[in-house]
């Protein structure tokens, strides 16, 4: 394992972690709104959130590139407001991972909220708790397992993200080359052996993530 390899793995883990941390509060909030409330535009939002699951990742990547590029609405805004550019930097990697893994987080957490008996929340209100107190003392604790599972799934999806990432961040060694992209370009170069090494690391990480998720739900269930 060379330092370059370690850099690739480090970049992959770092961007996936950051991506998961960023989407977590939004994902949980949206999941709760979808689980508990009716509101105008709800099915439109549901569809939008599910799109990255259904569309080819490169199609999502193309949309991101159009929005975040130098001439895209968000790209222009970021240039004017903060003087930064996102495409072809690690920030674009995080953006692609965030968009692609967001639906996984929302779906899992929404299910967790829906499984909570609404009467528990009702009784808590009659006992004098404000909706916020109900959320923090009743809903969140009961949804913890689901939230952890959602985060793990989102993280694992981010680790494996390729199609959108390669379009919007490219394959720039040391800056945007994550593991999936490294495997791809190794194959392009004919360096299959090296690609298999990354494949091994990928498999180990995926295995670890699923193992952790299973163990956590078992531990939580023993309560």
């Amino acid at each position: 394992m060379t330092t370059d390899d370690a850099q690739v793995i480090g970049l992959t883990l770092g961007t996936a972690t950051l991506s998961t941390l960023i989407i977590f509060p939004f994902g949980v909030a949206l999941a709760w709104l979808l689980a508990r409330k009716e509101w105008p535009g709800k099915s439109l939002v549901e569809t939008l959130v599910a799109l990255p699951l259904v569309m080819p990742p490169v199609a999502t990547g193309l949309i991101l590139l159009t929005l975040l590029g130098r001439r895209g609405p968000i790209g222009v805004f970021l240039q004017n407001a903060f003087g930064t550019e996102i495409v072809f930097t690690w920030k674009a990697v995080v953006a692609a991972m965030a968009v692609m893994s967001f639906p996984f987080l929302v779906r899992t957490v929404r299910l967790a909220f829906e499984e909570i008996n609404p009467r528990l929340e009702h009784v808590a209100r009659t006992l004098g708790a404000s909706p916020l107190r109900v959320f923090t003392t009743i809903t969140l604790p009961l949804a913890t397992r689901g939230m952890v599972a959602g985060a793990v799934w989102a993280f694992a999806r981010a680790l494996g993200e390729f199609g959108a990432t390669v379009l919007v961040a490219g394959d720039i060694p040391g800056r945007t080359t994550v593991m999936s992209v490294a495997i791809y370009s190794d194959i392009q170069l004919g360096d299959d052996g090296h690609a298999y090494q990354f494949l091994g690391v990928s498999a180990v990480l995926a295995f670890a993530a699923i193992l952790f998720s299973n163990q956590f739900s078992r531990w939580g269930g023993a309560r």
Partner: protein, 250 residues
């Protein structure tokens, strides 16, 4: 009347032979896309076999052929990839011809028509992002890096390179305006209205670019492929290539 079933049976036995007009699978470098499509259309119009294309960066095609993809002809943008296949015994050596050359240009987005008097000006930091084909694998990228090293500015620009999967991808990056400049073939620059040529690398100063074409070993359509390969070397085809910005060889 009672012979009709027999007639149908015989016809049905013949159909596989007659309907199977030959097809030729051509794996060609991305930069050849438009020129080859026009040449193939002319070929088919004059009664030639159907040509099926797979356009990609030459290193990708190299990898695909090695993995067993069904190619009849390989038309590469550099000799290295053709040599690589030849080493593995995948090329019919006697059919190999060096058909074309090309030249490099520096392009910029059409709405930012910068003109350069020398390629060394790329070292200016205002070119924050420069698109090339992958400098380790894509022929256009290898040629570009060789040239930048030759004029001595590679160390300054190396960190600003945005590697692309093929020369057409590099061109596309310049077209979208997401990079400040790109190095592509002259034939690519001519193809696109969304980029302007900022500098043409004189052929004498640039790297030697060679596009070899050859038949692949074990091709299932050898005769048809040979016919098309020969057609590519005719003067009408070379004229078409020239129209698209290539430099016919020999």
């Amino acid at each position: 009347m009672k012979y009709i079933p027999l007639v149908f049976l015989m016809l049905s036995l013949l159909t596989p032979i007659t309907i199977k007009a030959d097809e030729v699978d051509v794996f060609a470098a991305a930069s050849l896309t438009d020129a080859l499509k026009e040449i193939a259309a002319d070929y088919e119009k004059t009664g030639g076999d159907k040509i099926i294309f797979n356009f990609a960066a030459s290193n990708t095609l190299d990898m695909q052929i090695k993995a067993g993809a069904p190619a009849d002809i390989f038309f590469s943008a550099d000799e290295a990839k053709m040599d690589d296949l030849a080493k593995q015994g995948l090329v019919e050596k006697e059919t190999r011809k060096d058909l074309l050359s090309n030249s490099l240009v520096i392009v910029v987005p059409a709405d930012n028509p910068v003109k350069l008097t020398s390629a060394a000006q790329l070292a200016d930091p205002k070119f924050a992002k420069i698109a090339l084909g992958q400098p380790q694998s894509v022929p256009a990228g290898i040629y570009a890096k060789a040239y930048l090293q030759k004029i001595g500015i590679w160390p300054q620009v190396e960190a600003r390179i945005i590697p692309s999967e093929s020369v057409r991808a590099a061109l596309a990056a310049v077209e979208t305006g997401n990079v400040d400049a790109g190095i592509v073939y002259k034939s690519d620059a001519l193809h696109s209205k969304k980029v302007k040529t900022a500098y043409e690398v004189p052929v004498a100063e640039g790297p030697v670019i060679t596009y070899p074409a050859a038949l692949i070993q074990g091709s299932k359509h050898e005769d048809a492929a040979k016919k098309f390969l020969d057609y590519l070397a005719t003067s009408s085809s070379l004229e078409t290539f020239e129209k698209y910005g290539f430099i016919p060889k020999g």
